[in-house]
């Protein structure tokens, strides 16, 4: 751990938080990242992408000490994240971390999620709630969906990834570069795993605990979940028959 922490000193890390109407959570999320940062992590910047929120997300994030890029209207999670990756590329960051704005990702795992990137062990690290037992309790339907995607991704890539929809992930410079050019605008989480596999990037899963959403409203409902599953499966199948270069 010591050697990796030494490496922290030189490498620029950007934590990207996509947020859409998260005024109830965003301050806490930014504060907890700031307070959780060790002195070794002085090169860590926080960037909130306000995806066209109509509440106080932007102001609260700025007051909490994050850098904020405000999109003029809602582009969706994929394009919001890509905005962060474009920013990361332009400002020459070595690592980009995605951390959701609803408070379910615990910033204390930041070092463990970034370390494999700094060591060069992986091109993308996914914080997974299923690698080890975690406190996170998910509903049966959600669990079934996760299992389904996990099976599908394993089938398509041969890489066993358990938590394919986790939005807690870190990527290195090569992947930042790739994502700033090409990142799916709809349903990106599972989709990019296949894309990265095709491009021979190495994906690693590490165990994290996730909390239940702290406040505000989740965008997930049972009907939407089923719709999501069908759409993502379709996207994945289309991707798998696409020729080498993925647009």
């Amino acid at each position: 751990m010591d050697t990796s922490m030494d490496k922290f000193r030189g490498d620029k890390v950007l934590v990207i938080i996509p947020a859409f109407n998260e005024e109830k959570n965003i301050s806490n999320v930014v504060h907890s990242i700031k307070s959780g940062m060790q002195s070794e992590m002085h090169n860590v910047d926080i960037l909130v992408i306000d995806d066209g929120s109509i509440d106080k997300t932007s102001i609260l994030a700025k007051n909490a000490g994050a850098k904020v890029i405000k999109l003029p209207f809602n582009l969706g999670i994929g394009s919001a994240m890509q905005t962060g990756y474009i920013y990361a590329k332009e400002n020459n960051y070595d690592v980009a971390v995605q951390l959701d704005g609803d408070g379910q990702h615990d910033p204390k795992y930041l070092p463990s999620i970034i370390t494999p990137i700094l060591n060069g062990t992986a091109d993308m690290v996914i914080g997974s709630r299923y690698v080890n037992q975690s406190e996170y309790k998910s509903k049966a339907l959600r669990r079934a969906g996760m299992l389904f995607f996990s099976g599908l991704v394993t089938l398509l890539t041969g890489n066993r990834i358990k938590d394919t929809t986790s939005g807690f992930r870190a990527i290195n410079k090569k992947v930042i570069d790739y994502f700033s050019h090409k990142y799916p605008s709809d349903y990106p989480e599972v989709d990019v795993l296949i894309r990265l596999h095709k491009k021979n990037f190495k994906i690693l899963e590490i165990p994290v605990e996730m909390k239940a959403r702290q406040g505000g409203v989740s965008s997930i409902t049972p009907l939407r979940s089923v719709y999501y599953m069908i759409k993502v499966s379709l996207v994945l199948l289309i991707n798998s028959i696409r020729p080498g270069s993925i647009s």
């Binding site: 850098k67 904020v68 890029i69 003029p72 394009s79 905005t83 474009i86 605008s185």
Partner: protein
Amino acid sequence: MISIYTLAIIFSTFFLLIILELIRKNKLSERYSLIWILFGIIMLVLSSSPVFIEKISSLIAIKYAPSLLFILGLFFLIAYSLQMTMVISQQAKKIIRLTQEISILRDNIDSSKNE
């Protein structure tokens, strides 16, 4: 009684005139209007020579020749709406990219103002 052929000729002629007028007024860009002009001309030719479409109809076992006009029109509409969906998809991509770039640029401007 007015025949379907006469009706088709009248319709095609009006259609062509409308297209030309729209281009002239710059309400339709040349890029997307060529295919409409082409379509109008084809329909005009087909409807003005019954012999021609009757021949094609008998070749593919269509009993009522003018229905060939309908089926052609239908095919064209399907193909063209597919083309439109492609155009929209491309434009949506470009709009997203522009939005991202503008948001980052605006942020750059704001932060250089504050310094």
